[in-house]
Symmetry: none
Subunit: 130 residues, 4 copies
DNA sequence: GTGGTCTAGACCACC
DNA sequence: GTGGTCTAGACCACA
């Protein structure tokens, strides 16, 4: 897992985003125990307090819960994860559409380009498995 | 114009991408004269040699041409621009799809989410102008 | 029994208050024999002299009496207990009203809020037992 | 304003409570500018980071808002303050009722004692102003 | 000057 | 060992 941290935004927000993504994409499955704050901090080459701040926010949002003495865990509530997943998807789509509009494409064009690309990828898939 | 340069990739490639984008999105229209290398470099807070390298590559691709006596211009060949636009769009779409797949979405879901969002934005547009 | 002692006020006054409360609430019933000073002191993690001072004051107030040969007992005079109970209640109410006034509530509001809360709790009780 | 901080609970939660109370009771009126984080911290004899944490939480709850360069202000939304006031009142009442129940009083008794005390205080008021 | 962020290092409670 | 809290001191962006 590549902890990709830029200095142009607060580190803890980037930590939040990346952990959200890891949870939504199933890298950390529901109910899984996370590494300790200190371990995560070291892994990300970040101060434990900074990591703590990120985890606290994720906990507020219900994505994590903590068992005071045994560590922090991913929520077991699939709905919350689903909801966050939706939020992340929405912002990805918005970013994408904004960029495409900037390039001067119309809605119809965008849709058809995406569809075409997806179809061609499916063809790849079929070829590789036929 | 936000010359947005990170230090994680060669500067000149980032310059290329951003100038390509400015041309494709019409900020620099077909046939327009570009500012001098020196001015562009200063504007982007970059070494003139770096800017020169970027412009040379763009020229190689046919997106710019040089008139030795009067400066550098955007190509007047709409096809070339269109082609570059297509290439940029393709990489945007690929990035986007990769991220959505990472989040665990299926092709159908992605398409329908994009369509829904585009429709809702059109509704906004109509509301604001009705 | 949580001997809850802060360091911001004399320990022995806090001991008095808590023993008064235990007697008024019936934890130590009328006529009951108390543990020895030594035991009480140990239980509260307090110097026996401090506990002795508290008990002496309670005896002065008539809430306890000493039988030199067999130990210390809670008074059997229900009236005295009732009187102390009234005094404790009065200070609780005064504290409470002071806080509510500080929050900016009027007398009528306070009364109605208390009544509403008591009613809702009774409803709970009925629900849980129906 | 007496910053009353015990060491038996996190300091920042106590700061939150006391600032909430100051806002609800009107000591800091709606729209008022608060002292700077550093000044508040010094006043409360607390590390600026601790005060910052408390203020950040109050901001999350909508009780404060911040104008990045000019300071922090009390919300101008009377509803939010009202709501918090209600929450604080509720917990005060619950604490009070719990203590009175512990003393062995019935609902009716509690109500009548509160009413009597309020009436007698009103009498005081009338006497002092007649 | 303002708020915001980050680090380093310490201490605590819990089990 | 775990998470949680606190402090001291630094740096940044903004205006």
């Amino acid at each position: 897992m590549p902890w990709d941290l830029k200095s142009d935004r607060p580190i803890y927000t980037q930590l939040i985003e990346q952990i959200e993504l890891m949870i939504c994409s199933g890298i950390y499955a529901l109910g899984t125990k996370l590494p300790s704050v200190r371990d995560l901090a070291q892994e990300a080459a970040v101060n434990p307090n900074t990591m703590q701040k990120a985890l606290a926010k994720l906990e507020e949002d219900g994505l994590l819960y903590t068992n005071r003495t045994s560590g922090r865990f991913v929520t077991e509530d699939a709905d919350i994860v689903k909801q966050v997943k939706g939020r992340l998807a929405l912002s990805q789509i918005n970013d994408f559409l904004k960029k495409m509009k900037n390039l001067g494409f119309q809605n119809k064009e965008i849709i058809s380009m995406v569809e075409n690309l997806l179809e061609s990828k499916e063809d790849d898939y079929h070829e590789h498995n036929s």
